[in-house]
């Protein structure tokens, strides 16, 4: 471990990520998708992960699941280094961490019945058989709001997007995981169905004592479910802190713009936020020093020469910026 554990986070971290780095390709074609990202997730909490398209949110999630291999850094689950696990140990770890994806329909095997899709991980590990297994699966389906009697033997194509997402959730819970990584799990759903799935997720989280990494680009959705939020930009972590603190007084210039652009369904809200001009640079050739400096109005020479480290500005609120925004907490100015 090169970075010390974040202050304000006790020993109860279920997941500890240190300097996680994922680089795709080599040499001139190397894409720096995730660069030295460190964070903890405490058992029972939801950490939201936000940032613009391509900033490395999914790659982070996939690296934790070892769907992609980290180039550097360590990942510890419950104090055990899982970064280099292979074979049976890795498969065992994967039952304790599950991932749910955006596209609910294509992430389910179209040729299998719903009941068997949900039971797949159980069958794979031969954990339960016969009536015990069937009862367990029926119960899981009921918990996610799918009637096992009328719908258990159907195929995914006869379900709507929201129902498929319910089935994905049931499957992910079959092995009783500790950590769920939700990657844009409600992004493709209509707002009325999205609310149902988010409520369901909150209920199941409480019921199963789950810990969540909730990846999404929708800032309102993330605020609604997360205890803490982490912001990424071009592969790096900019800021991490308690949701309310981060949304009310962001300290990183990028976070300010990102949150400023979020639209509230309220005609009295600010019509024209300060807009961040341009687009993120290519991860093939990221800027030196602070990766946000090419768009940052506060950038100075130091930002080009020195990579800002993640520093604490308030308890549990950490920022990677040489010149973080001054937080005015008391006088309401």
């Amino acid at each position: 471990m090169t970075t010390p554990a974040p202050a304000g986070v006790g020993p109860a971290a279920l997941l500890s990520v240190r300097d996680l780095t994922v680089t795709f390709g080599r040499g001139a074609h190397a894409v720096s998708a995730v660069d030295a990202v460190s964070f903890d997730i405490v058992a029972g909490e939801t950490l939201g992960l936000v940032g613009e398209s391509g900033c490395g949110k999914s790659t982070t999630g996939r690296a934790l699941m070892r769907i992609v291999t980290p180039t550097a850094g360590t990942v510890e689950l419950d104090g055990v280094d899982i970064t280099h696990q292979r074979g049976r140990a890795l498969r065992r770890t994967r039952t304790r961490m599950q991932m749910i994806f955006q596209d609910p329909i294509s992430s389910l095997n179209p040729r299998r019945r719903v009941r068997d899709i949900v039971a797949e991980p159980l069958d794979c590990w031969r954990q339960m058989r016969g009536p015990e297994r069937d009862a367990f699966i029926d119960d899981l389906l009921l918990k996610v709001g799918i009637d096992p009697l009328t719908h258990g033997d159907r195929y995914p194509r006869s379900f709507s997007g929201g129902q498929c997402q319910r089935i994905s959730i049931a499957r992910s819970l079959a092995m009783r995981p500790q950590l769920l990584i939700c990657d844009e799990m409600v992004s493709a759903l209509d707002v009325s169905v999205q609310a149902q799935i988010l409520n369901l997720l909150e209920d199941l989280k409480a019921q199963y004592g789950l810990t969540l990494l909730f990846i999404a680009h929708d800032l309102a959705v993330v605020k609604n479910v997360s205890d803490r939020v982490a912001v990424m930009y071009l592969g790096r972590l900019c800021e991490i802190g308690p949701s309310t603190t981060l949304y009310e007084s962001p300290a990183h210039p990028y976070t300010t713009y990102l949150l400023g652009a979020a639209l509230e369904a309220d005609p009295t809200s600010r019509a024209r936020p300060d807009v961040l001009e341009g687009e993120p640079p290519s991860p093939l050739n990221p800027p030196s020093g602070c990766r946000f400096r090419t768009r940052c109005p506060r950038a100075s020479d130091r930002c080009a020469s020195e990579t800002p480290a993640l520093r604490e500005v308030a308890p549990g609120h950490r920022v990677a910026c040489h010149f973080p925004l001054v937080r005015v907490v008391d006088d309401g100015a």
């Binding site: 707002v191 605020k223 005609p267 687009e279």
Partner: protein
């Protein structure tokens, strides 16, 4: 607002620029013949759009927003589709107009921006040439004049180094840049009416803010009227003067934006607002989810289409379709048998 349809069956009237209303839609109904029977994707929609006005059309997926836009644009295939009612643009009737007559209007009178820029761009043609083509075919510009104008349009929509981007293929551009190109194409003929169908859906919030600001600026600068179609209430909240809420092909509530947000009368409007997560919510705020999901238009329930999901539904709701009725606020209408009380106390 009178809903008396002014029925005209052919393109007869010449544009009357002095009229305050640019677009007048009456009782517009679009029906697809499907294997499951007739599917009424747009059902009796009426509205007026003033000059330089921005109207928001909101609704969940499948509520008929895209079909409405394509019907107004005259873009639907002619087989297996029946359109009735009236759409008059500058007094010219569009319903029943020939494709040739529509071509006269496309780009110079009315243009459309589609949700997915990739589907409206040709992937194997340089983006500059795609803009040139519109300018040459629709406006009759020469090759050189078209190129010069294309470059102007690319910079008008905020594309940096237009000369370089002119030569790019759509696949070489980011989603935000592609949407700017699509907007450039739509603006090529300086249309009076822009139909923007989910122009920012799928884009990052930062890029969405850029594109919405761009549309704002262009609307003012080019004196356009805009129909802004979206499923996102946040998009219409501050960018429109009026909104129309659609459910299952029908307008269920419409009126001045501020009024519809603050004093909605139709339960679906309220449900839609309340189930949307807010940035201002505290973590773990329970959302007021709407049970069930939007109906299948090929098998609509009798009566109010929202009845199976509505907490206020009574027996009548399952039998009779409620008509739009006026509130005391001018232009604010709703369709509901059991409306919410007017300004029923402060809403969260």
């Amino acid at each position: 607002m009178s809903a008396t349809p002014e029925r005209t069956t052919s393109a007869t009237t010449a544009p009357v620029a002095s009229e305050p209303v640019l677009l007048s839609v009456r009782d517009l109904t679009t029906t697809f013949a499907t294997n499951a029977g007739p599917l009424r994707a747009v059902d009796g929609v009426s509205f007026d759009l003033g000059r330089e006005e921005v109207l928001g059309v909101v609704g969940e997926s499948g509520s008929g927003k895209t079909v409405l836009s394509r019907t107004i644009m005259g873009l639907l295939a002619r087989s297996r589709v029946t359109v009735s009612g009236s759409v008059r643009l500058d007094g010219v009737e569009i319903v029943g107009a020939s494709e040739n007559a529509m071509r006269q209007l496309w780009s110079t009178r009315v243009a459309m921006v589609f949700q997915d820029p990739m589907t409206s761009l040709n992937p194997v043609m340089r983006v500059g040439h795609q803009i040139d083509e519109v300018l040459r075919v629709r406006l009759g510009l020469s090759r050189t004049a078209a190129r010069a104008r294309s470059l102007e349009l690319l910079s008008l929509v905020g594309i940096p180094s237009p000369a370089e981007r002119y030569r790019a293929y759509p696949g070489q551009l980011s989603g935000g840049m592609r949407q700017r190109v699509v907007i450039a194409i739509a603006l090529a003929g300086a249309p009076a009416l822009l139909l923007a169908d989910e122009p920012t859906t799928g884009l990052d919030v930062t890029i969405q803010a850029q594109i919405l600001n761009l549309l704002d600026d262009l609307t003012a600068r080019l004196h356009m009227s805009v129909v802004l179609v979206t499923h996102d209430l946040g998009v219409v909240a501050t960018r429109t003067s009026r909104i129309m809420v659609m459910y299952a092909g029908r307008v269920v509530e419409s009126g001045p934006t501020a009024d519809v947000f603050a004093d909605h009368r139709m339960p679906y409007t309220r449900a839609l607002l309340e189930c949307s997560p807010r940035v201002s919510n505290a973590p773990h705020t329970r959302l007021a989810a709407i049970p069930g999901r939007p109906p299948n238009l090929a098998a609509l329930p009798a009566g109010c289409s929202f009845a199976p999901r509505c907490a206020y539904a009574t027996e009548r709701c399952h039998r009779e379709v409620p008509a739009l009725v006026e509130t005391t606020t001018p232009g604010h209408q709703y369709a509901c048998w059991n409306p919410l009380p007017a300004r029923g106390g402060p809403r969260p």
